[in-house]
C-alpha cells in the first residue's frame, strides 16, 4: 500500500517536472502566482523589509512581470536562491524567472540553456583598498591577499586580470558580501573585489568610509540581467518586453504618477501603443492591451525603480553612470515599441 503511494507521488512529480519545460505562461496563470528567484538578501537589490515584504531593484522587475501577466503586483512567490542554487532552481522549473544580479555570459546563455532577457544593471568589477596601504592602481597589487566572493564571475575575472598583468595574488574565498566585508575590515585581506556597485554599497556602511578608496581600474564588464529557461520563447518575449517597457517608459516620460492622465490623452503614438490605447501589442504576446500600463504602475518606470532602491538618495548611493538612458549618455536603450 505504501509503495503504491510513493510510486504515485513519484509519477506525479515526474509529470510535473516534465511539463515545466513548455508554456510557462499557462503554468503561471493556472497557479495564479509568479515564482521569482531572488538573492537571499542584498540590500537595495532584493531583501525583505521590516514587514517581511521583499523589496529592491530586482524585486521590482519580478513585481512588474507579475502585474503584467497576473494583474497583481503582489502575486509573486519570492524564492531566495544562492549563487550555487540559482541555476538549478530555474532549470528544474522551481522558479519561472530569475532576477538576481546575474552576469550575462556566453556559457550561461548557451551551454546552461538559459535566455537572458536584457540588462537591468550595467556593472563592472572593481577593487577597494584601505587608504593607508598607499596603493593607487590595481596593477600595484602584486602579492596582495584578495577577498573574493566564491563561485561568481568576479572570481574568474580576478584570475584573468592578475595573469594578464603577470602579477601574483593570494585569494581568500568568502561566501557572502557580509563575510567579505568582515574579513576586509579585520585586515585578513589587503583588498576586496566585487562589482563596483557592491563595493560602493559596502563602503557606505563602514564607520569611516573615507579611509577606503576604490581603485580606478574596472577590470570587467558585468551586465546583470534577469533570465528565463531556454526554449519557451513566448515566455521569454513577455518578460523581455516587460523590462523594455520599464526602460521605454522612462525614456518617454511615463511615470507611475502621470500614467493615468497620459492614458488616452497623448498625441505620441509610441506612448499610446505602450499604454494599450492604440494597436494590439498585448495581443501579440498573449496578454491584454494594458499589460505595460500595469507593469509600469507596479513599481514605477526604470528610473523610479533605480532612484527608490539604489539611487543617490538611498544609503546605497549609486550614480546612474552607465545605467542612464541612451539619451543621457548611458547604455539603456529599449528597442522601439511598435
Amino acid at each position: 500500500m505504501k509503495k503504491t503511494v510513493i510510486f504515485g507521488a513519484l509519477t506525479v512529480a515526474g509529470l510535473a517536472a516534465g511539463a515545466a519545460g513548455a508554456a510557462t505562461l499557462d503554468d503561471v496563470k493556472a497557479r495564479g502566482k509568479l515564482n521569482c528567484g531572488v538573492t537571499t538578501g542584498l540590500a537595495g537589490f532584493a531583501a525583505p523589509n521590516a514587514n517581511g515584504e521583499w523589496e529592491g531593484f530586482d524585486v521590482a522587475v519580478c513585481r512588474a512581470v507579475a502585474a503584467a501577466v497576473l494583474s497583481d503586483k503582489n502575486a509573486v512567490e519570492f524564492v531566495p536562491t544562492t549563487g550555487k542554487t540559482r541555476f538549478t532552481a530555474l532549470a528544474s522549473g522551481e522558479i519561472d524567472f530569475l532576477a538576481r544580479n546575474t552576469t550575462w555570459t556566453f556559457s550561461r546563455d548557451t551551454d546552461l540553456k538559459f535566455d537572458f532577457i536584457g540588462v537591468n544593471y550595467y556593472d563592472g568589477q572593481g577593487f577597494m583598498v584601505p587608504k593607508a596601504l598607499g596603493v593607487s592602481s590595481a596593477k600595484d597589487l602584486d602579492g596582495a591577499t584578495v577577498c573574493i566572493q566564491t563561485g561568481t564571475t568576479t572570481e574568474l575575472n580576478l584570475a584573468d586580470f592578475f595573469r594578464k598583468n603577470n602579477i601574483s595574488y593570494e585569494p581568500v574565498p568568502v561566501e557572502t558580501n557580509a563575510e567579505g566585508q568582515q574579513q576586509y575590515l579585520a585586515g585578513a585581506c589587503d583588498t576586496y573585489t566585487t562589482d563596483a556597485s557592491g563595493l560602493a554599497a559596502t563602503r557606505a556602511t563602514f564607520e569611516t568610509p573615507g579611509d577606503h578608496v576604490l581603485l580606478p581600474e574596472i577590470i570587467s564588464k558585468e551586465p546583470l540581467g534577469p533570465l528565463v529557461r531556454h526554449g519557451d520563447n513566448e515566455w521569454g518575449d513577455i518578460t523581455r518586453w516587460v523590462l523594455n517597457a520599464l526602460i521605454a517608459a522612462e525614456e518617454l516620460g511615463i511615470t507611475s504618477a502621470n500614467i493615468e492622465e497620459m492614458t488616452g490623452n497623448t498625441n505620441n503614438p509610441e506612448i499610446a501603443r505602450l499604454l494599450g490605447t492604440e494597436g494590439t501589442l498585448g495581443e501579440m504576446i498573449g496578454l491584454d492591451n494594458e499589460w505595460a500600463k500595469r507593469a509600469i504602475m507596479a513599481e514605477g518606470n526604470y528610473g523610479e525603480i533605480f532612484a527608490k532602491n539604489i539611487g543617490e538618495e538611498t544609503p546605497i548611493g549609486l550614480a546612474r553612470g552607465l545605467n542612464a538612458q541612451w539619451t543621457d549618455g548611458g547604455l539603456l536603450y529599449a528597442p522601439p515599441v511598435r
Binding site: 515526474g14 546552461l112 597589487l141 563561485g151 585569494p171 574565498p173
Partner: protein, 404 residues
Amino acid sequence: MTTFSDPPKASFRPSMLLSDTRYRSITFQVIALALLVTAIWYLGSNLAANLRAAGLNISFQFLGNPAGYDINQTLIPYTSQSSNLQAAWVGIINTLLVSFLACVTATIFGVIAGVLRLSNNWLIRKLMAGYVEIFRNIPVLIWILIIYTIMTAAMPAPSAFRGDDPASTMMLGSFAFTNRGVYIPGPVWGPGSMIVVATFVASIIGVFAYRRYATKLLYDTGRLLPMLWPSVAILFVPAIVVFFIMGMPIGLDFPALAGFNFRGGIQIGAPLIALWFALSIYTGAFIAENVRAGIQAVSRGQSEAAAALGLRPGRVMNLVVLPQALRVIIPPLISNYLNITKNSSLAILVGYADITATLGGITLNQTGRAIECVVLLMLFYLVISLGISMVMNVYNNATKLKER
C-alpha cells in the same frame, strides 16, 4: 517384469518458491532487488528525460576545460589555466591533508582527555569533564566559525609587522603569527639533500628493527636491553653525520615581510589552522568518551592485580589497561575518523579549498554542471570513507582478542 527405478526425486514446483524455506529467502531477495532496480531505473530515466526536455545532457567534458579560478592552498602544481580535474585533485589533497592532521591530533586530545577524565585528581577530572561536555554538545560548524573569527580578529595583520616601530614582532625572528596564517621557516633542498633524507628514513626503519630485536631478546632470554638512548642515537646520529659529510645541503628559508605579505618559508593558512583545530578538539571530545568507556570496560581487578605486582600507575595503564581497552575503543574510533573526514566538507565556511569548495563549489557554480559535480563528490567521499574503514578494520582485527 518389474522395472526398478530410483525413488522419485522431489521435483521442483513453483509453489516451493514460497513454501520451502530453502528458496523463500532467495525469492524475497530477488523481488526486493527487482523493485530496487525498477525504482532506480525509473528515477534515472525520469532525470534523463527531463534533462533532454530542457536540452541538457550529462557530460563530464567540463573536467578537461580550464578552471579559470585560483586556489590559495595548492600542494600540487596548479594555475588558473589548469583543468577543472586538476582543481578537483587540489581539493582532494587538501581534504586528505586536513582530515589526516585532524585525525592525528583528535586522537591525541581524545586519549589524553579520556585518561585524565578518570584521574584521581578532582580538579583535572572535572576540567576534562567540562571540556568533553562543552565541545561535544555544540555543533562543529559553530566551533569552526568561532576559532576562525578569533584568529582573524585577535591576531595582528601583516601590516602590523611593518615600520620602524612595529606593533608586533616575529617570535625568535623567524615565526610570524598573523591573521592570515602562521609563517614558519621552511627547508631549502640543496644538491645532495636527498641522501640526507634517505639516511633519515633508513634510520627510522632501523629504530623499529632495533626495538623489535630488543623485545624478542627480552622474551627469549629475559635480557633487557636499553630502549630509549639507542633509539634516539640510531634516529639522529647517522642523519647528522651524513648532513655534515654532504656539506650541509639543507638550509632554512626564513619568512620576511615583502610587499603586502610575508614571503618565504612555509605558510600555514588561517583557514587550515582553524579547520584543523576545530575538527580536532570537537572530535577529540568524542574520542575521549570512547577512551573512557574502553578503560572502564577493563575489569578493575586487572589494574588492581597489576598494582599488586608492584607496577607503577603509568605502566599499569600502558601495559595492562590500554591494550585491553583498545578492543573497545577502536570500532567507535573508526566512526570518528569518518566523521572528521566528512565534517571537513564544512571547509568552505572559512575559505579552505577542500574538494567540496573546489569541485562541489566553484567548479559546480562556474560550469553549472550540478548533477555531474555532486555525483563525483558523492563518489569521492564514499571511496574515502570505505578506504578509512577498511584500513581501520585491518588494525582492529590485528588488536582484537585472538580466540582459538
